[in-house]
Symmetry: C2
Subunit: 97 residues, 2 copies
């Protein structure tokens, strides 16, 4: 078992990460739209997590030069491929926790 497992498990184990990814599996969203689906999370926490996920290349931050500027977040391929992983964690959690 290599350090890549630990690195992946570390990302998934962070609070809110799973939920943010799940929300984005539904398609691109603005910050406010993600927030609305996870109302218990603070703005600061969401900002921190989004920056982290962006630096890990799990989400993209797309800026559309409209007036006013529109910013949307979307999953990368790397992020989208977390779907079966998150589902397997969820399935185990529902059965055993």
């Amino acid at each position: 078992m290599c350090p890549k497992y630990e690195a992946a498990a570390d990302i998934l184990g962070k609070k809110w990460t799973g939920r943010i990814i799940r929300v984005l599996l539904g398609g691109p969203k603005r910050f406010k739209e993600i927030k609305e689906q996870i109302p218990e999370m603070s703005d600061k926490m969401l900002t921190d997590r989004m920056k982290e996920l962006e630096s890990q290349n799990i989400i993209n931050r797309n800026v559309y030069p409209e007036m006013p500027v529109r910013i949307e977040y979307d999953l990368t391929d790397k992020g989208r491929e977390l779907q079966p992983v998150i589902e397997s964690i969820q399935k185990w959690g529902e059965e055993w926790m």
Copy 2:
């Protein structure tokens, strides 16, 4: 997505947990045998993780009243069913990290 997901992801995200479970998927082991397979981990860290996993009912601690006493650790059903979860994390990690 319910708190059960967060609880499950929290367990899986802790350093060494995945490796300990992987070692025990190979069958019951003594403390020393687990340690030999994860030499980078300190005794204290392994002790702490084992206690945690025991309290979460993921591993059993079996005491055999021999001379000297033999103590072995084994996965419970709850622990064994983490196998596909750990494999999916590993697969993603190997591909993307």
